[in-house]
C-alpha cells in the first residue's frame, strides 16, 4: 500500500506552504499531490511557485501530481488551467471534466480526482480510454460499492489499467458553490473578499445550535464537520486500494501517515472519538457516523 498527501485545501501563505512541503519532502509519503484545488482568487502561490515546490519534491524522491481547480467558471480560469495541463513534466489531477477534456485532447495521462462523478464501470472504461491512470474515489463511495465495481472492472479487463486511491483522512470536501462562505461569515461580498480565508488556516467551524460541529467553511468549499479517519479500516482496503490519501490538516498530518503505516495490519489502532472523527462513508452509512 502506498500513501499520498492530497492537495492542501486551505489557503496558506506562501511561506507556510513552503515550510509544509519541506517537511513533506522528509515524510514517509510516497506521493505528493499539490496545487490550488479550491479558488482561483487565491494567488499567494502562483504557477511558478507551484512548479518550484513540485520540482523540489520530485528531487527529494517523491512522486508528484499537480492538482487543479474543481470548479471552473470562466475562460480566464481555463486559460490558467492550460498552463498546468501543459507543464510538460508532471502528472495532473483533473477535478472537473473540462480538465479531463484538456488532458485527453493533448493525449496526456491524468489522475481522476475525487470531485469527478465516477460511480460505475462504464464511466471508468471511458476515462481509461481518455488517459486516466489513477482514480481517486468520490468521498461518498462505500467499500461495498467499490468492491462490486472492481469485480466489474476485472470482468472487463480494466482492473490493472489504473490505480485506485482513497481519501482516507481529513475533513472531507463535500460541496462547492459560487458563493464564498468565508467572506459571507465576515459580512463581505465575494468581490471584496480580500481572500480572507487566509486568516483561517484550518477553515471556520460551523456548529449546530446545540454545539455539534456540522461543517467547516473554506472559501467556496464546504467540508465535513468531523475528520474522516480510516486509520482503523486499513485491513478492509487490502486488494482494493492501492494508494491511501491523507488530506493535509496541518503539519501533524505528516506524522499521521506513519501512524497509518504502523496500523496496516491492525497492530497499532488509532484513537478516534465520537463527535470528532468519522468513518461512515466507507462503512456505507451516513458520512458523519463513527462506526466501531
Amino acid at each position: 500500500m502506498q500513501y499520498s498527501l492530497g492537495p492542501v485545501l486551505w489557503y496558506w501563505p506562501a511561506s507556510e506552504l513552503e515550510s509544509f512541503y519541506q517537511q513533506a519532502a522528509n515524510s514517509s509519503a510516497d506521493i505528493v499531490c499539490l496545487g490550488e484545488a479550491v479558488c482561483s482568487k487565491r494567488r499567494a502561490t502562483t504557477y511558478p511557485g507551484w512548479m518550484t515546490l513540485v520540482r523540489e519534491l520530485a528531487a527529494s524522491g517523491k512522486q508528484v501530481v499537480l492538482s487543479t481547480l474543481a470548479l471552473l467558471q470562466s475562460p480566464s480560469e481555463l486559460k490558467e488551467l492550460q498552463r498546468y495541463v501543459e507543464n510538460g513534466e508532471f502528472l495532473i489531477e483533473a477535478n472537473d471534466f473540462g480538465t479531463v477534456n484538456m488532458a485527453a485532447e493533448r493525449r496526456l495521462p491524468f489522475v481522476a480526482g475525487p470531485t469527478l462523478n465516477v460511480y460505475n464501470v462504464d464511466t471508468l472504461q471511458l476515462l481509461v480510454k481518455e488517459g486516466m491512470t489513477r482514480w481517486c474515489l468520490p468521498v461518498e463511495m462505500s467499500r461495498d460499492w467499490l468492491r462490486l465495481l472492481m469485480q466489474q472492472c476485472e470482468e472487463r479487463g480494466l482492473r490493472q489499467r489504473f490505480e485506485i486511491e482513497l481519501l482516507a483522512y481529513g475533513h472531507l470536501p463535500l460541496a462547492l458553490s459560487a458563493r464564498c462562505f468565508t467572506a459571507r461569515s465576515e459580512n463581505r461580498a465575494k468581490d471584496a473578499c480580500e481572500t480572507c480565508c487566509i486568516n483561517y488556516p484550518t477553515g471556520r467551524p460551523v456548529k449546530s445550535q446545540e454545539g455539534q460541529q456540522v461543517f467547516v467553511l473554506n472559501g467556496i468549499q464546504t467540508l465535513s464537520g468531523y475528520c474522516y479517519n480510516l486509520g482503523n479500516d486499513l485491513l478492509s482496503m487490502q486488494n482494493l486500494i492501492d494508494i491511501v490519501r491523507l488530506s493535509p490538516q496541518d503539519a501533524s498530518t505528516l506524522q499521521m501517515i506513519d501512524r497509518f503505516r504502523a496500523n496496516e495490519q491492525g497492530q497499532a489502532p488509532l484513537m478516534v472519538a465520537q463527535g470528532n472523527d468519522c468513518n461512515g462513508y466507507w462503512r456505507k452509512v451516513a458520512g458523519m457516523t463513527l462506526a466501531s
Binding site: S74, Y119, L148, L172, A189, Q209, G287
Partner: protein
C-alpha cells in the same frame, strides 16, 4: 426561447401546458431521477399518456434520468431509458456517462440534454460531453454569474438551458455530498437531498426544532414559520453568530434577466419544482409565459411587471426571491 416547466404528475403536466409551457419535464417512479419522492412521478403507463397529451398539443416531453447508475443496478437505469424512449420522450435529461452512452447508442434519435447534475460549468466540460455523446442541450448549474452565462453562450457548441425560477440549489449541482454526509443519501446516489424520512419537527421549550437525521438544522421562534430542514438552509453558529451560514430559505427568480438571457441566445428557461402542486405550476407558468411573450415582442422595452413579482414572491420559499449566483453580489 422555450419555457420548460416541471410536472410531478399528469394534472401538473396538463396545467403547465394550459398555462403556456412549451415543454414539460418529468421523472419515473424510482431512484433514476433527482426528485425521488414518495407519491411523485410517472409510471410507464402515465408516461405514455403524458407523451400523447403533449404531442397532441405540439409540445415536448423531457424525461429526467439524472442520477448515477449503481454498480448493482445498471439495468434499472437502462430500463428507465428504454421506457422513456419507447413511450415518446423527445429528450432525455442525463448526467451519468453510463446513461449517456447507453442512450446515445440505443436511441440516437432521442435528444440528449446534459443534466445540471453533470455539473458542466465551462466550455471544456461541455466539449467533453459533446465529443462523446453528441448533445442537443446543456443545463447550466446555478453557479454562474450572468456575465459567465453570456461568455459561455458565445462559445458553446451546444444550446444552453438555464434555471429561471424555483428552489435555489446553491452548490454546484451533482457535486454536493452534504446530504449523504448527514443521512447517507445524496442526490447523486439516492435521487434526493435531505430526504423526508430523516426529517423530524419537534416543539420544545426553546421553540420548534427541525432536525435531519437528529442533527439540529434550525430552531424557530413562536412568530416564525418553520420550514423544511434542507440542510444548506439551516441556521448554524460560526463563533458567536447564529445565522443562515450557507443560504436563507429563498427561491431563485430571474425575471429581471430575461432580456439578457434572450439576447445571449439561451435556448430554454427552466422552472424548478417537480415536487410542487399543479396550482403552483399553473401560476408560475402563467407569469413566465406572459413575461417571455412580452420580452420577445419588445426586448428593449421589457420591464418586470410588479404583479409578476408579487405572484412569484407568494410562491417562493420563505416568500423571498433572489437572483442567486447570476448576480455577483449574491456570491
Amino acid at each position: 426561447m422555450e419555457l420548460l416547466c416541471p410536472a410531478g404528475n399528469l394534472p401538473a403536466l396538463r396545467t403547465a401546458i394550459e398555462n403556456g409551457a412549451d415543454a414539460v419535464y418529468v421523472g419515473l417512479k424510482d431512484d433514476t431521477n433527482a426528485r425521488h419522492f414518495a407519491g411523485l412521478n410517472f409510471t410507464d403507463k402515465k408516461l405514455a399518456e403524458a407523451a400523447r397529451y403533449l404531442h397532441q398539443h405540439r409540445r415536448k416531453l423531457h424525461v429526467a434520468i439524472n442520477t448515477f447508475a449503481h454498480p448493482d443496478g445498471m439495468t434499472r437505469w437502462q430500463r428507465a431509458i428504454d421506457v422513456a424512449a419507447q413511450n415518446g420522450a423527445d429528450a432525455l435529461i442525463l448526467a451519468d456517462i453510463a446513461t449517456l452512452e447507453y442512450a446515445a447508442t440505443r436511441y440516437p434519435q432521442v435528444e440528449r440534454h446534459l443534466s445540471v447534475q453533470a455539473s458542466a460549468t465551462n466550455l471544456e466540460a461541455i466539449r467533453f460531453y459533446h465529443r462523446h455523446f453528441n448533445l442537443h442541450r446543456v443545463v447550466l448549474p446555478r453557479v454562474l454569474s450572468i456575465h459567465q452565462v453570456k461568455q459561455l453562450a458565445r462559445s458553446t457548441p451546444v444550446p444552453l438551458e438555464v434555471f429561471a425560477f424555483g428552489s435555489l440549489c446553491i452548490m454546484a449541482e451533482g457535486r454536493c455530498y452534504l446530504s449523504s454526509w448527514l443521512t447517507g443519501e445524496s442526490p447523486n446516489s439516492a435521487g434526493a437531498c435531505s430526504p423526508a424520512k430523516f426529517v423530524r419537527w419537534q416543539q420544545t421549550p426553546k421553540g420548534m426544532e427541525s432536525r435531519l437525521n437528529e442533527v439540529l438544522i434550525d430552531r424557530y421562534a413562536p412568530d416564525e414559520s418553520a420550514g423544511y430542514p434542507t440542510l444548506c438552509k439551516g441556521r448554524y453558529q460560526v463563533d458567536d453568530s447564529c445565522y443562515h451560514v450557507l443560504e436563507e430559505p429563498t427561491s431563485l427568480n430571474t425575471l429581471a434577466l430575461l432580456p439578457e438571457l434572450l439576447r445571449a441566445g439561451v435556448a430554454s428557461v427552466k422552472i424548478e419544482g417537480r415536487q410542487r402542486s399543479p396550482a403552483y405550476v399553473a401560476q408560475v407558468a402563467r407569469v413566465w409565459r406572459q413575461a417571455i411573450d412580452r420580452c420577445m415582442a419588445q426586448p428593449e422595452q421589457f420591464a418586470v411587471a410588479p404583479q409578476w413579482m408579487q405572484s412569484l414572491g407568494e410562491l417562493a420559499e420563505g416568500t423571498q426571491t433572489t437572483l442567486g449566483a447570476y448576480h455577483r453580489e449574491w456570491q
